[in-house]
Symmetry: C2
Subunit: 132 residues, 2 copies
């Protein structure tokens, strides 16, 4: 028999105030869509974990590796919930800014955000080029 | 030089209306915290993907494998964003109900939800027992 859990309200937020998912997908070299973590080292995810720890946020914000987020042409891709802000082409050098501005200051880093026309659409101009 | 993306508004939602993360973490057999996918088969994540495809939702809802969501004592663990609803002890037989009731009907499956006292807290009664 499974344990019973009691939720206090229908849509209560989890204790993570923000939840960062960093794509760790790998594809073979030369794949037309590319991938977010070609060598599988999860360096970007670990950099987020380290930065959160340095800022004293490891109990309230989690940086998770994820499977393919399907925004491969813009990788490395990161999505932050609950607000659903997507970032593309994220480098190691961007991690401190994302944590400082967005995670702490609640101001997304606009220069890295994926536009609506790029997220989850077959008509994204970057996707079309990559698939040619 | 990195491509420039233009977001239409500061907090626009991604094109995924809901984003399901299914923990795929593995730990060695006998680990006191347990893990969500002991054999690494990702069966639960694939079941969500299949169910979403059957319901015609694969373009608007994504079922992603994730790294450790850190709710190991309640695994297999699933979290649905943007609403941040957490489920524990999710079985293959629960997938159709979660998709039908929550993803389509916007009514979380209460019997599977993790309570606030279980999510991301060292004082969770299940965690304490497992760590003894």
């Amino acid at each position: 028999m499974r344990p019973v859990f009691v939720a206090s309200d229908p849509y209560s937020m989890a204790k993570f105030e923000k939840h960062i998912f960093i794509c760790g997908n790998r594809r073979p070299q030369g794949h037309p869509r590319g991938c977010c973590d070609p060598n599988g080292a999860a360096e970007l995810q670990r950099a987020f974990k380290t930065e959160l720890a340095l800022r004293g946020l490891k109990d309230t914000v989690r940086a998770n590796k994820s499977g393919c987020l399907d925004q491969c042409e813009h990788g490395p891709t990161v999505v932050v919930y609950p607000e659903g802000v997507w970032y593309g082409n994220v480098n190691m050098s961007d991690v401190a800014e994302i944590v400082g501005s967005h995670i702490i200051g609640d101001r997304p880093v606009e220069r890295l955000r994926l536009g609506d026309g790029c997220i989850n659409t077959q008509t994204c101009q970057h996707r079309s080029k990559a698939a040619d």
